[in-house]
């Protein structure tokens, strides 16, 4: 997992944003000046806006994997709470795992969107400093995973499909987490999600941090937002182990093939949902709308399938991931 601490300049994965932000500031200033009807200024603004669009498209087309990881972690990137607020017509939060506690790092509740009812499950990172601490920066404990499963079982009983939002640096590595069976909680969720007899749609909206992500990540459809990542280990963790230096995180990010395009190419996700120009943080509403359309399309498609067929396909989908050389399929 990553600590939200300052990084050395060499690792500043958001340096590419600076010229774009400068251009944006300049346009904003000109706009202020142009409160009247200065035609010359209006032309200048148009030109700059055009330049900003082109430059943003260019920069974002060429982001390195490490830079994308940093976009996925961007402070203004829409979080699960934003999707709840912007996307849903109704949301009833349901708390607690009925055994130990209520892990704020995972939110669960009944949701309604364009007349469709479902259970929403998602990692929660928090917006303010206080929130972020309460949510443990999106790093869930076993009770979070158990809460998710307890609510998913309820959804199954009520015939509600499940939508899961993935955005975590990883499950929390701590003493209490180990005492209460972090590994077992994640494993149990993965196992049980293959049995849940309602459609499950998963969307990686930011960080897909390893087992902590997969713990709510087994679905009939798994999508990724364009600038999100999904990885077996954080780039920092991988760099520390294989390169013996956390500074090599950019190299590790490259090697791990963790971008949405990579996951799609490897057949590990079903679709990449494109983000608005310059990333979801530049236009949260636009990003949320695109995710919403995709979820609705998938839910309608999946709800038409017979349940046994749904479960058989879910199994086949993951069964076929990563086939070694020498396997002959009947």
């Amino acid at each position: 997992m990553s600590e939200p601490s300052a990084r050395p300049a060499a690792q500043d994965g958001l340096a590419f944003e600076r010229p774009l932000n400068e251009l944006q500031t300049k346009i904003a200033e000109l706009r202020k000046l142009n409160s009247g009807s200065h035609l010359e200024l209006a032309g200048e603004i148009d030109l700059l806006e055009d330049r900003l669009r082109r430059q943003t498209a260019e920069v974002y087309a060429q982001l390195s994997p490490w830079e994308r990881v940093n976009v996925a972690r961007h402070a203004e990137r829409p979080l699960t709470s934003d999707y709840i607020q912007l996307m849903l017509d109704d949301f009833v939060e349901l708390h607690g795992d009925r055994v130990f506690g209520d892990d704020r790092a995972i939110v669960t509740g009944f949701a309604c969107m364009e007349g469709l009812r479902f259970l929403l499950v998602g990692h929660r990172k928090g917006k303010t400093v206080k929130d972020r601490l309460a949510c443990n920066f999106g790093c869930a404990h076993p009770e979070g995973y158990r809460k998710a499963m307890q609510k998913m079982r309820l959804a199954e009983k009520l015939g509600l499909p499940i939508v899961s939002f993935i955005n975590t640096p990883g499950a929390y590595p701590g003493i209490g987490a180990e005492e209460r069976g972090q590994a077992a909680a994640i494993a149990r969720n993965i196992l049980d999600m293959f049995e849940i007899r309602v459609p499950i749609v998963c969307m990686v909206i930011g960080e897909g941090g390893s087992g902590g992500a997969l713990g709510i990540g087994v679905g009939d459809r798994v999508g990724m937002l364009e600038n999100s990542y999904y990885s077996v280990i954080s780039p920092e963790g991988c760099a520390a182990i294989l390169w013996k230096s956390g500074d090599k995180a950019p190299e590790a990010a490259e090697a791990l093939k963790l971008t949405s395009k990579d996951l799609l190419r490897l057949g590990l996700v079903d679709k990449v949902v494109e983000e608005p120009l310059g990333g979801a943080h530049r236009d949260p509403k636009g990003a949320v709308e695109r995710v919403k359309r995709q979820i609705l399309e998938w839910l309608r498609e999946l709800m038409a399938l017979p349940v046994d067929e749904l479960l058989a396909r879910r199994h086949r989908k993951f069964r076929g991931m990563g086939t070694p050389i020498g396997v002959t399929r009947a």
Binding site: M1, G170, A171, Y172, P173, G174, I175, A177, E178, E179, R180, G181, Q182, A183, A184, I186, A187, R188, I190, L191, D192, F194, E195, G208, S210, G211, L214, G215, G217, V218, Y230, S231, V232, I233, S234, G237, C238, A240, I241, L242, W243, A255, L256, K257, L258, D262, L263, L266, L268, R314, H315, F318, R319, M321, G322, T323, P324, I325, G326, V327
Partner: protein, 315 residues
Amino acid sequence: MAWTRFGKKKDMPGNLWTKCESCGALLFRKEFEQRHRVCGTCGYHFTLPARERIAITVDPGSFAEMWTGLLAEDVLAFNDRVPYGEKLAQTRQKTGEDDALVAGAAAVKGIPCALGVMNFQFLGGSMGMVVGEKIALLCEHAQAQRLPVVLVACSGGARMHEGAVSLMQMAKTCSALTRLHRAGLPSISVLTHPTTGGVTASFASVCDLLIAEPGALIGFAGPRVIATTIKKELPKGFQRAEFLLEKGQVDRIVPRAQMRDELARLLAYATGRDPVAAFAPQPVAAEPEPVAVPAAPEPPPGGKGRRRARPPKDG
């Protein structure tokens, strides 16, 4: 989730002696190996290579290995300092194994089962596509043949070199286990030192019965990652088998010397056989001659050995 290297064992002069990772006692290698790598002084259970594990677990001649020749594909073209493809080739040559799991059909005290054993010698027993595929195949075979499944875990977790493909093996193995369980067939997981990361967080923790070897390090995150995260020293015995038993995470702790008997007994209960009959004398391989242990050489400078095997780092 990912595996890492452990401290390399320091071999003693002439390779005749080895030093206990736990208590520092000098162990005469031949005798130590005859004790199946359990320290005669403190009872510390060393990591056991897969083939040795199979030899002491199943009835002589009963193991029929399956799915040999499955090889990992370097789908990421992963390159840290050595390209993954090269690393695989070297490790295959060094270990004589295709990958980190040996699997097949076997019998334990006459009870047929499907057996999969992880090999820590192969890239830290890390789980990539080959391990995931073989576990899925093993479960499917067991389901078709109506056999119980026994899985012996020993792994630092998912294999980083296969990226998210290795992560998804957690789902693949769980999916296969779900189907096995739904078909009414039992599974037993034997957790040995060390088992962490994506292996603990998938098939190894969701079998019907969880058995641990004494002192085995078993957990989600590696102790070093936890210590770094919480910036505190970890309590004594944290993440060891005894700790897990106390916290309600495993069914039993079984010493290596009794593992075969215990497995037979549990398999008997799990497959509708008489657990008492499972203990009836069975033909076993002839007991080896006791080894004459010579006087130990002077301990090398540095004195006591490490208290423990170096804990794994983990993500």
